[in-house]
């Protein structure tokens, strides 16, 4: 088997590719135990690195290298439960693994087939332990066409990708399809860009193919500026070859010979794995000159971005790639016709590219069976916030928000009420309980005032204040506005200031209307979509939770009990036995102990509303008003 560090043989025909694929598969015993450990950024951050080291070391010590394989895989998405370990072939699912658990897993589960109960996942709703990965509720309703391979392969070993059928689509395209046929197939699949705009990918490719110019560029957008989203990172780290394969197919269809992957600097592992993947693909002759002996040339370079949110926007990204400040520019000519260095340029998102091999392999007819009339295929969301199971979830378009949040996400923790879900990243909108049965696709989300965006999904419960949430997102957008155009630079700032005033008790009659009026000018006249969508969080919260705004403005009251200036903490005398927990916790000594079995006294003058007393009280003896 060819692995890390070894030189690979150049493949110069489709047959040679199939040949090597067969030999890789043949060498692998599907029944041999294999410990797959997630090597994604999420698990590594939870000390996954030492778990991986421990496994390697223990296996060596116990002299069982021949009996068991170890594979460091990409991220399967359930980061919250990391570090994750799955024992194959049975698919035994262990979560939150610590170094101390490693010897036991090897000796008990791998060598003796015994399940270790304490490492299993407990379903938050049923309270039952789950043994097998496919039975975990988080995975059950997902349709993991794109992200599913992450857990099967080691992203630093190209043979792993070949073993799951990698580069077959490329081979098919290069030798059995004309560029026009490829474009036709992608058009027929109705694939829409996963980077936010949802633009039909096939049409974009066709326009770029037809654009005048001998040099054309192709770019993969892995900027992923939305702080809550990480599916692009996961794919780039966990299965970079699927992205490369998509890009090469696109390049062939469009007629590009140079491509770039634009990755934000904060994604070192994505940069590293993409670099390794490029090198290995080049060595195999799957990238570079004369790909697979077809005569088609395409090379890919990695470019690191500064990490500003707006740098993910197409024209700002291209400016940044050219070494200029990452600012959006007026697109009087579309970037497909004049983009990078004024040449026709085709930009697609990581996930969009990763969909391409699938469509080519399975065919557009198969692909269009998944999803809704206007949105086909699956979409990866990053499900976070007040929900039991958080992580990356890949679902078919058209699934309802309720299914995602309650079936996959396992509902709201602590028995709290669901309040709203924010989709689409910082400039997406908030969707209330009443719309939970909304089928998730590009158009439905937009109709609800939100958007698909990057695929962020933040769940909020009764303890979230909607004005505060709107302020939070606007603060982010205010910081990220490049400042080039007035409506976004100043308008968003003004909106945030008004929201700050409202949350701090300075709201005035007319503020809501002013926010709405500002929103209109910002949406309609900003230069790029950052400004064009920035008011969404405000407009949707006003739309669905107007009463909450009014409570802040008129009654100087924050119904969710979040906005400090508008709340006060009170001791519920009947419930307080004077246990002194809160007294000890209060940083300003605002709470005075009287005597045992008598309630403590809270001095409002001294209280800074930090809420620590509320959090430490076990007896619900403190309330927020």
């Amino acid at each position: 088997m060819v692995g890390k560090g070894q030189a690979l043989n150049r493949l110069s025909s489709p047959d040679e590719l199939e040949g090597i694929r067969k030999s890789i598969i043949k060498q692998r015993d599907p029944n041999k135990p294999c410990i797959t450990i997630c090597g994604g950024t999420g698990c590594l951050a939870l000390r996954g690195e030492s778990v991986i080291a421990a496994f390697k070391q223990k296996i060596k010590r116990q002299g069982v290298e021949t009996k068991v394989d170890v594979r460091i895989t990409g991220c399967p998405g359930f980061c919250e439960r990391g570090p994750l370990v799955v024992i194959k072939p049975q698919n035994i699912f262990y979560q939150r693994i610590r170094v101390e658990d490693v010897p036991e897993i090897i000796s008990e589960t791998v060598l003796r087939d015994n399940i270790i109960d304490r490492l299993l996942y407990t379903d938050p709703n049923t309270g039952q332990k789950v043994i097998y990965e496919h039975e975990v509720s988080f995975y059950k309703k997902q349709k993991r066409l794109i992200i599913g391979n992450n857990e099967l392969i080691d992203p630093t070993i190209i043979d792993d990708y070949l073993a799951v059928g990698g580069y077959a689509a490329l081979s098919k395209v290069l030798f059995r399809m004309s560029p026009e046929e490829v474009i036709e197939e992608v058009k027929k699949s109705s694939l829409r860009g996963r980077g936010g705009g949802g633009f039909p990918t096939g049409i974009k490719w066709e326009t770029c193919r037809k654009a005048r110019g001998d040099i054309k560029y192709l770019i993969c957008n892995c900027d992923e500026g939305d702080p809550g989203a990480f599916m692009d990172r996961s794919l780039m780290e966990g299965n970079p070859h699927s992205v490369l394969e998509g890009m090469i197919i696109g390049a062939y269809a469009i007629g590009c010979h140079e491509g770039y992957i634009y990755v934000r600097n904060e994604y070192p592992l994505a940069v590293k794995n993409a670099g390794i993947a490029i090198r290995q693909a080049e060595e195999y002759g799957l990238l570079g000159k004369d790909i697979l002996g077809s005569g088609f040339d395409f090379s890919i370079r990695i470019s690191r971005g500064g990490g500003a949110f707006v740098c993910g926007e197409s024209s700002a990204l291209m400016a940044s790639l050219e070494g200029k400040p990452g600012e959006a520019r007026a697109k009087y000519v579309h970037t497909v016709e004049r983009g990078l260095w004024d040449k026709p340029t085709n930009l697609n998102n990581v996930e969009t590219w990763a969909n391409v091999p699938l469509i080519i392999n399975q065919g557009a007819d198969w692909y269009t069976k998944i999803g809704t009339p206007n949105s086909k295929g699956t979409k990866i969301f990053s499900l976070v916030g007040k929900v039991n199971n958080t992580g990356l979830v890949e679902v078919p378009m058209g699934i309802t928000l309720r299914e995602v949040i309650f079936d996959i996400g396992g509902g709201i923790p602590g028995g709290k009420e669901f309040k709203a879900v924010q989709t689409g990243g910082p400039s997406g909108g908030v969707i209330p309980e009443s719309l939970l049965d909304l089928p998730v696709d590009f158009d439905e989300l937009t109709k609800a005032g939100s958007m698909m965006g990057s695929g962020g999904m933040i769940v909020m419960d009764e303890n979230n204040c909607m004005v505060d949430i709107a302020k939070y997102f606007l603060t982010f957008l205010e910081e990220e506005s490049c400042g080039k155009c007035v409506p976004c630079r100043e308008g968003v700032k003004r909106m945030r200031e008004i929201l700050t005033d409202i949350t701090e008790g300075r709201g005035k009659d007319g503020d809501i209307e002013l926010l709405e009026r500002l929103s209109a000018v910002i949406i309609d006249s900003s230069l790029c979509a950052l400004g064009g969508t920035a008011p969404n969080p405000v407009l949707t919260t006003i739309g669905y939770f107007r009463d909450e705004y009014e409570a802040h403005i008129r009654d100087k009251r924050c119904p969710a009990g979040v906005c400090k200036a508008l709340i006060s903490y009170h001791i519920v005398d009947e419930k307080c036995p004077g246990c002194r927990l809160c007294e000890k916790a209060c940083p300003t000594r605002a709470i005075t102990f009287v005597e045992k079995r008598k309630p403590v006294i809270l001095d409002q003058e001294k209280c800074i509303k930090c809420g620590i007393c509320y959090d430490v009280c076990n007896l619900d003896a403190i309330t927020v008003k």
Binding site: P325, E478, C485, V486, R489, E490, R517
Partner: protein, 654 residues
């Protein structure tokens, strides 16, 4: 270009394919408010004031960046658009500090005008009034960030027009500030004080100390004239109020001779030495005393009647052709001397000798190319010249060629790299070995075959045989490889331009100039008898004076008497030391100076703004100098004085 028709506000209007909607609106008298747009600069669509509605577009689009197409249906003035514009103005107005009362630009401000137009009688947001810095460290310019609306016009002017690339935004979002060279004070940055940014700025955020509170545009008379500061011949738009200079602007920022430099835009406005307001003669005590013109003329006439022998004339080339011609006649016919020169005659004699030696050419100065050629260049050699000092616009054109056309820039200078941020190759020959270096380059070009067919004649090849590369390298102190690199850069160029000036002329070496012409000739850098060579001449009308034949030269080492028409040229050390020891010195000049203290008779002379006549630019264009001010205290013109003296001597000059 194809003609297109579109409907704007229900009116059918025509335009050309490639025009923006804004351009078509403006051409058809349809008013669309703008702030970040400036004629001649690229459009960025930043302020969004110009948003218009276009059928089938989802939301309004900025007219300034939207390319018009045939059949577009455009609305520029719907209620919604006007509401948006007012809202945008309101946001701009409250962003920084626009308390117009204390603003130099009040009444001349595009923002303020729009505020009136949109009746900004109240704003719905608190004024921010941030305390932003004011950068006043530059000689001429001030940036007051508190007035800045972040439209970026100055930045685009700085890079596209001045090709200086000094200004850019630092920081992002609403924290953005215009900043010079990564947050340097302007005065310590690469700023050349050309003032293109001042002219581009729509508000009072960048202004010049020299224009401060002198007058508003509407109160001024505007006169177009030509710049007297150097021989490039830029057009000036001079604003005058109550017979005082208020401001000098470029009529167009985009013409090659358009943008103006610090000399044309600012230095002309600087305080001058005290003016000579009346004729002066040296009295009994040896002091200069004011007198009538008659009296002064009398003294001169007496002296001339006494002894015309050994009397010479010298004139500044800042004066126009008419004055020069008359002076020529005055010295020749009235004084009867053939000893006449211009202040810069020596330069002329070197240049013309250099041209004569080149294939015995009779074209004279016409062999040089227009300065616009620099903009077409893909390789430029600057040898013995410091255009940033002497002719800043030439330096701007060089930078533009380098930044916009990726031209290669070679500097040949024995003391310093005159384009430190821009040069591709600086050859630093030992002082005095420039000629050897140039000949060495010619030989490499011929040896490498980088010459046009039939261009290198046997005679030339023969004369270059002594310039073996090794030898040249030893003499000049420059390694072979660098010489060869330079030769290749220039040899491969399709459009190579050589610029030389002062530094080379001081060497008094006409053969270097011949070599330069040879270089251009053998590499085929030639069109219709013109070679792509430009000499930088010392004064605004040097070429005029030289072509009128005034640069004959002073015959004597030290003439006994000298009539020096210095006009508003400033004194120089070299002039002063030469003047010492002249028996009888008449100086016609605008200012008191060390020169006047040597003079026996001093006569007044108007300054550039008070004169009129023809100028010939360094590349031979004839331009019109207009009178923009009435002469101070009704002083006579230079010609009137010369005629007066002639009359007394019995000559009728006209």
């Amino acid at each position: 270009m194809n003609e297109i028709t579109l409907a704007i506000n229900d009116r059918q209007v025509k335009g050309k394919e490639g025009d923006t909607v804004l351009e078509i609106c403006q051409a058809n008298g349809i008013d669309v408010p703008t702030l970040c747009h400036h004629e001649g600069l690229s459009d960025v669509g930043a302020c969004r004031m110009c948003v218009v509605e276009i059928e089938k577009e989802r939301s309004p689009v900025p007219a300034c960046t939207y390319l018009a197409r045939d059949g577009l249906v455009v609305k520029t003035n719907t209620e919604q658009l006007e509401r948006y514009r007012r809202q945008i103005l309101e946001l701009i107005f409250t962003e920084h500090n626009h308390f117009c009362m204390f603003c130099e630009q009040s009444e001349d401000c595009e923002l303020q005008k729009l505020a009136y137009r949109y009746q900004m009688d109240n704003v719905r947001y608190p004024y921010t009034f941030p305390s932003l810095p004011v950068d006043a460290l530059s000689d001429y310019l001030v940036i007051d960030h508190n007035r800045c609306i972040l439209c970026g016009r100055c930045i685009r002017a700085c890079s596209e027009v001045a090709a200086s690339h000094t200004l850019d935004f630092s920081q992002r979002g609403w924290k953005a500030l215009v900043s010079a060279d990564l947050e340097q004070p302007l005065g310590e940055s690469s700023c050349t004080s050309c003032g293109a940014c001042v002219q581009a700025c729509p508000t009072g955020a960048i202004f010049s100390k020299l224009n401060l509170y002198k007058g508003k545009t509407d109160e001024c008379q505007q006169i177009k004239t030509v710049c007297p500061a150097c021989g490039v011949g830029c057009e000036l738009n001079v604003l005058v109020k109550d017979n005082n200079l208020v401001r000098i602007e470029a009529p167009s920022l985009t013409e090659p001779r358009g943008p103006l430099c610090r000399m044309g835009r600012f230095r002309l406005l600087e305080p001058t030495p005290p003016r000579i307001t009346s004729p002066l003669v040296r009295g009994k005590q040896g002091e200069l005393e004011e007198c009538s013109l008659d009296k002064a003329v009398q003294v001169i006439v007496e002296r001339l009647a006494e002894a015309k022998d050994g009397f010479a004339g010298m004139i500044s080339t800042r004066v126009p052709n008419e004055t020069l011609s008359l002076f020529n006649k005055f010295i020749g016919e009235v004084v009867g001397s053939d000893s006449i020169d211009t202040r810069d005659g020596e330069s002329y004699r070197i240049i013309s000798e250099g041209i004569r030696l080149f294939q015995n050419n009779g074209r004279g100065l016409d062999i040089e190319c227009p300065i616009e050629d620099i903009l077409e260049a893909d390789c430029i050699i600057v040898v013995g010249a410091d255009p940033e000092k002497t002719n800043p616009i030439i330096s701007t054109l060089v930078r533009r060629a380098v930044s916009q056309r990726k031209a290669k820039l070679i500097v040949i200078d024995s003391s310093r790299d005159v384009f430190p941020l821009w040069t591709d190759l600086w050859l630093k020959p030992r002082a005095g070995s420039e000629g050897v270096l140039l000949n060495g380059l010619a030989k490499i070009l011929i040896d490498k075959g980088l010459v046009g067919p039939g261009k290198a004649q046997a005679e030339l090849i023969q004369s270059l045989s002594q310039y073996e590369t090794g030898e040249v390298s030893r003499t000049t102190g420059i390694e072979n490889e660098r010489l060869e690199l330079a030769a290749e850069m220039y040899g491969w160029a399709e459009h190579g331009v050589i610029i030389y000036g002062e530094g080379l002329l001081q060497g008094n070496d006409a053969s270097s100039i011949t070599t330069i012409l040879n270089l251009a000739n053998i590499t085929g850098n030639q069109v219709e008898g013109e070679l792509r060579v430009i000499s930088l001449k010392p004064c605004a009308n040097s070429r005029g004076a030289w072509e009128l034949g005034l640069a004959k030269g002073i015959k004597q080492d030290k003439p006994k008497g000298l009539y020096l028409l210095l006009a508003d040229e400033r004194e120089s050390e070299e002039l002063l030391s030469w003047l010492k020891g002249i028996d009888f010195l008449v100086v016609q000049t605008s200012y008191y100076s060390s020169v006047t203290s040597l003079a026996n008779v001093v006569l007044p002379s108007p300054i550039w703004a008070e004169r009129e006549g023809k100028y010939v630019t360094t590349d031979g264009r004839v331009l019109e100098l207009k009178q923009v001010l009435q002469p101070k205290d009704g002083l006579p013109q230079d010609q009137e004085i010369l005629i007066e003296i002639s009359k007394k001597l019995g000559h009728r000059l006209s």
